[in-house]
C-alpha cells in the first residue's frame, strides 16, 4: 500500500480497514482450492476504493470476507488477515462481530429486490437495525429512521415508513437500503455492484447520493464493480482483480491515464463506449482460468500478448511500481 502516500509504508495507523495477504479457499469437488490469492487492500475513511474485475475473479468473495460473510457457504480463510483499526476480525467473538457488522462496517448489496423482507414494512426493518445498534427508544428510533430516509432523498419519509417493499421502485428500495446501511453511523461501507440492477437514469442519482453521503460522513467506501464507468465516476483509488489476484492498483487518474497491466488495458479497451465506430471491438482471447486451474506463474499469461518465458514463474504484486501505482507484470511498457 505504499502508493497511498508517496513511498511511505502505512501500517496499523488508527483508522483503517486493512486486508493483508488474504487468501480465501472454496470447496470444488471435495478439494479445497484458493479462489482469492494473497489480496492486500487498504480502505481509509474519506476515500473511495474501487475493486474491479469480471465475474469469477473473486471480488465479491473478498468484499464479503470483510464482514466474514460467506463462511457458512464454505468459504474459508487459508491465510492472511483482515484488521479493523489494528484489530483482527478473525480474533473477534461472534458478539464483537455483530457490533462490527453494521456498526463499523455496513454493506449495500446489488439486488434491492431481494435484500428487503417483503412481509415487513420499511419502517419496521429500518427501526430494527437502528435499535440493534443504538440504545434508543422506539420513538427515538422512529425519528432517526425518518431522518435517515430524508438523508437519502425521500421527501415523504413518514409515508415510506408505513409502506412495504413491493410498493417502492427499484431506485427507492436501493435508497432504503442505503439508509439502513447508514443507520448505526458506520465508518466503512462495502457496496457490491450497488447500481447494476437499476435503470441508467436512476443509477446516476444513486451514485450522486452515495458520493454525497460518503463525503458528508467521511466514510471509507469499498466499491465492488465490473464497470469502469462507475470507477471513473466515484473512486479515488482502484484495484483491478484477475483470477483471484490483484494485478494492478493505483490512484484513479493513474489507472485511467497510464494503465500498465495488459489485462487492465484490454479490459478498458473492449468497452463499447470507447470503441471506434464501425470497427470491431478489441477482445481478450481465451477464458479466465477457474480456481484450481490457475497457472503457477502470472495468472494472465495464457491470454497475454506480452507473455514471455519468465511469466511462468510467480510474479510479485508490486514487481513494477511508481508513485501511486503498482502492477503485477514483468513486461510493462513492452510491445507485443
Amino acid at each position: 500500500m505504499k502508493w497511498l502516500e508517496s513511498g511511505e509504508v502505512i501500517r496499523h495507523t488508527a483508522a483503517m480497514l486493512e486486508l493483508s495477504d488474504l487468501s480465501l479457499s472454496v470447496s470444488i469437488q471435495g478439494k479445497r482450492v484458493d479462489a482469492v490469492s494473497a489480496v492486500s487492500l487498504c480502505l481509509q475513511p474519506g476515500r473511495v476504493l474501487g475493486l474491479v474485475g469480471e465475474s469469477g475473479c473473486g471480488k465479491s468473495l473478498t468484499a464479503q470476507a470483510i464482514l466474514r460473510l460467506g463462511e457458512h457457504q464454505g468459504v474459508e480463510k487459508s491465510s492472511g488477515d483482515i484488521r479493523l483499526d489494528g484489530k483482527s476480525l478473525f480474533a473477534m467473538s461472534n458478539e464483537q462481530l455483530r457490533t462490527v457488522r453494521g456498526g463499523h462496517i455496513a454493506m449495500i448489496f446489488q439486488e434491492p429486490m431481494t435484500a428487503l423482507n417483503p412481509v415487513f414494512s420499511i419502517g419496521s426493518q429500518i427501526i430494527e437495525v437502528i435499535r440493534l445498534h443504538l440504545d434508543l427508544t422506539k420513538q427515538q428510533a422512529r425519528q432517526r429512521a425518518i431522518d435517515l430516509l430524508q438523508d437519502v432523498g425521500m421527501q415523504d419519509a413518514e409515508q415510506v415508513l408505513k409502506q412495504y417493499p413491493d410498493a417502492l421502485s427499484g431506485g427507492m428500495r436501493q435508497r432504503v437500503l442505503i439508509a439502513m446501511a447508514m443507520a448505526a453511523d458506520p465508518d466503512y461501507i462495502i457496496a457490491d455492484e450497488p447500481t447494476t440492477a437499476l435503470d441508467v437514469s436512476v443509477q446516476k442519482r444513486i451514485i450522486a447520493l452515495l458520493l454525497d453521503l460518503q463525503k458528508k460522513r467521511n466514510l471509507g467506501l469499498l466499491l465492488v464493480t465490473h464497470d469502469f464507468g462507475l470507477v471513473a465516476e466515484m473512486c479515488d483509488d482502484v484495484a483491478v482483480m484477475y483470477a483471484g489476484q490483484i494485478v494492478e492498483s493505483g490512484s484513479v487518474s493513474e489507472i485511467f491515464d497510464h494503465p500498465a497491466h495488459p489485462y487492465t488495458r484490454a479490459l478498458m479497451g473492449c468497452r463499447p463506449e470507447v470503441s471506434l465506430p464501425g470497427k470491431p471491438l478489441p477482445v481478450i482471447s481465451g477464458q479466465v482460468p477457474p480456481p484450481g486451474r490457475w497457472p503457477s506463474g502470472c495468472h494472465f499469461a495464457k491470454r497475454c500478448p506480452l507473455a514471455k518465458d519468465d511469466c511462468s514463474h510467480p510474479v510479485a504484486a508490486d514487481v513494477w511500481s511508481r508513485a501511486n501505482h503498482v502492477t503485477r507484470c514483468l513486461h510493462v511498457g513492452e510491445n507485443s
Binding site: S201, K204, A232, E233, P272, Q287
Partner: protein, 318 residues
Amino acid sequence: MSVLRVEQLNKTFAAGGMFKAIGKAKRAVIDTSFDLQAGETLAIVGESGSGKSTTARLAMQLLTPDSGQIYWAGENVTRLRGAELRKRRSHIQMVFQDPYASLNPRMKIWQSVAEGLRVHRPEMTNSQRRDKVAETLALCGLDDSGMDRYPHQFSGGQRQRIGIARALIVEPKVLVLDEPVSALDVSVQAQILNLLKEIQLNTNLAYLFISHDLSVVRHIADRVSVMFAGQVVEQGKVADIFGHCAHPYTRALLDARPIRHPDERNRDDVVMVIGEGMSDTGCAYQPRCAFKRDGCADFDGTLNAQGCACLYPLSVRS
C-alpha cells in the same frame, strides 16, 4: 426490402387475479410503429417498464395486440393463428438475455439447437440435422466438439453463442435480440457484439435490438427508437440521436451513461431526470422533465416530422 413492419400497435394489460376489481389496466404499448429493412439494426431503448420488450413480443406475434397491424416480409400476419402462423415463424426468431436460463439443462447442445428444425424442416433426417447444427455452430464461432455436451459445461459467452445458433438455424430474416449482452462480462460482451456484426454482414439479417445500454446501442445499431411509458418519444439515425437528440428524455438517458474518464466528473451541462413516475394525461414524461412548460399537460405525444414527441424539442434537426 422491409422485413418487419408494425403499424400503430396498442397493447393493454388488464389488472388480473385478486386485484381485478381495484386494479388499473396498464397501457404497455401505445400507437407504436416502425419499419425494419434487411441488413439493418433498429434498437429500442428505454428503462424497465417502458414497453420495449412488449413491443418486440408483439412484433413476433408472441402477444396479440389490441389494435394495429404486423407485417412480416410485406405480408400482414396480424390475424394469422395456429399452423398458418407457425409455418411463418421461421421468418423471425429470438435471442434471450440470459443464456443460463434459456437453454434446457437436460438437453444436449445439438438437440437444443436442432429444435427449430424439427418444426420447420420435418423432412430432414437426424444426420442431416446434426450437420446443419454443426454448420450453424461454426457460424457462431463454436466447433462441433461440444455438440453432445450439456449447457452447464459452457461459459456464459459460449452459451450466448449457442442461443444465437439456435435462433439462426431456421434461417430467419429477422432476429429479435432482447438485452443479448447485458448478462455478460464486458470482455465477453465485446466478442458477442463482434459476432453479431459479422453475422449480419454475411447474411444480411435484420436485428431488432432491445437494450437499456446506450453505449452498446451506439456501437451496434443503425437507427434508434426511444420508448417511454409505452410510447416512442424519439426515433432517428444513431448519428442524429447521439449527436443532437431533441427529446428531453433521450437527453437525460444519454447524460446518464457512465462517464469514460474521471476528468468528466462534475460536468455541469448534464440533464438529470428529476422526480419519478409518469403522467396519465398529456405528455407522459412531464413529472420528470426539467423543461416542462405550458401546453405539456395537453400534448398528445405524437411524433413530429423529425421523429420527436415533444412540444419544445431541444434541438432542431435538418
